[in-house]
Amino acid sequence: MNFQIPQLTLSFYGASFPIILFCVTGIVALLMGVSKNYKSVRASYWLNNSVLVVALLAIIRQYAVTGAASEVFLSGGFVAGRLGYFGQGVIVGIALVVSLLMGEGYMKPKFFRGEIIALFHMVLAGMLTMVATDDLITLFVGLEMASIGIYALIGYVNPTKISQEGAIKYFVLGAVAAAILLFGFAFLYAATGTLRISEISAAVGKISGHPWIELGTILTITGIAFKMALVPFHMWAPDAYEGAPTGLTAFMATAMKTMIMVAAIRIFEGGLDGVHSVWVPVIGFMAAASLLFANIMALAQQSMKRMLAYSSIAHSGYMALAIAAMSGGVGQYSVPSILFYLMAYVIVSLGAFAVIMWLENERCENIIIDDMTGLAKQHPYAAVALAVFMLSLGGMPPTVGFISKLYIFNAALSNNLVGLVVVAAIGSTISLYYYMRIIVRMFMMDASPVLGALIKPTKSLVTTCVVAASVLAILLLGTILPEAALRVAKHSSGEVTGG
């Protein structure tokens, strides 16, 4: 029991500047929402986007100047390391793209309100906190800041019956997941006497086999699996993804996944590697179940968003496979492969959701797969872009989806998880059917006049730029640049793998 007054130096404020910035602008946005003069959509739009750009630049600068050793502040509460800044950069980048896309469509006046932007920035502050901490208290508070804000955003941005239903289902299961995760933390604390991840790592080596630490590990992995939406605990994901406004669906599918993956890398590689014989079978089973079940369920879906939700569960399965491969001190292969997969998945998902958001309007809020019929005749560029995204999600060779799966399989094979790789390959084959189905509808069928009249997208410069950039990134990363991206992933993962 030693109490130290934490030394808040200037370098702490520099390192945690984005988090502080989002907390402050969250409050500013809330005040703007009730003020007479700054209530407008335009004011919120400019506040939000300029703050996101500033935060992104600050994070990139911090990432560039951070050395191989991470700096620890607030006795573990905040860790300024490359992995944390990598996660923060990806999350803020996603938030910027999603905000720009939200500013184009019919959702603009609904999303850019003071109270919504306040919630959005608080969510971002929570996410940035969670990816850059070594302390389970801070990690939990960050997770809950992000989750509670998201529950409210889903039900509140566009309060229809369907989004309120999605919000309530997500809320109940998310709260149960948080309680399970906390129960796991409580038993880890009871067994080791500390809540610092790095100290838990040192302690589990000495006392492995203790029943409390095994119970704590199992409960922790269950809570993480709930948040990652792995298969027995995935029930909330399709409902929440379909109910939420599409921009928020894109944000949840990418930013929440980045946050929880980085936290999972920290907990399992950085903290619980000593008891990997307990959690590897559990997460291996869940990865296999996700890969098979989610891909089979996606075959039967009609709604585009719901299909992408099941697809995102399957992609969580691939990343869980790499988490299982992290065990036993071979993290130097599998942690970079997770980060590379995350980058690829984020780029592809944002592109696909950008196309879907562009097709939506007030009369047609939930695009179904039949709406895609004959899209190539009316909007050939959009159809080609969507085809590239679908091929990449399915893992076809010239795209980044193929390379990223290759790295994951490679990492899993280097840890002798042959059975899981076979299951993943089978799941990947099943998934090709429903991705191809969309391509077939777009290019080989004529549109029915009723459906064609419903979707009349207008030209949008932002959407064009986002879609073009992500198509370019997919093809470049899939052919000539994967080495460069993998180097970034390796560089970022040095913080936990010690390389």
């Binding site: 208290i137 809950e144 129960f183 038993f187 399709p238 109910g243």
Partner: protein, 100 residues
């Protein structure tokens, strides 16, 4: 002094009651109360473990858990009210727009 395992067994029983309540109750207020019960079971483990190990972190964590539980209850009740205004009931059986 009561051995620390007794607190853990009590906490596990409370947690399981809360878990079953949260997953099988049909009334959303009861679901919210069950979630609170789960979080209180967590608090019990933290306090007991903190006392047993002589480490103050557990007690600090409890304060954070209480705060977060209050936020969760506030957002949850707001959602329940919004749902009641739309449907006139807070039974979970009405939530059947999203399936499959």
């Amino acid at each position: 002094m009561v051995p620390v395992e007794f607190y853990f067994v009590l906490a596990c029983v409370m947690f399981m009651l809360g878990l079953f309540g949260a997953l099988f109750r049909r009334n959303l207020i009861m679901v919210l109360m069950s979630i609170e019960l789960m979080l209180n079971a967590v608090n019990l483990v933290f306090v007991a473990a903190g006392r047993a190990t002589g480490n103050v972190d557990g007690q600090v964590m409890v304060l954070f858990v209480i705060t977060v539980a209050a936020c969760e209850a506030a957002v949850g009740l707001a959602m329940v009210i919004a749902l009641f205004r739309k449907y006139g009931t807070i039974n979970t059986d009405i939530l059947r727009l999203l399936r499959g």
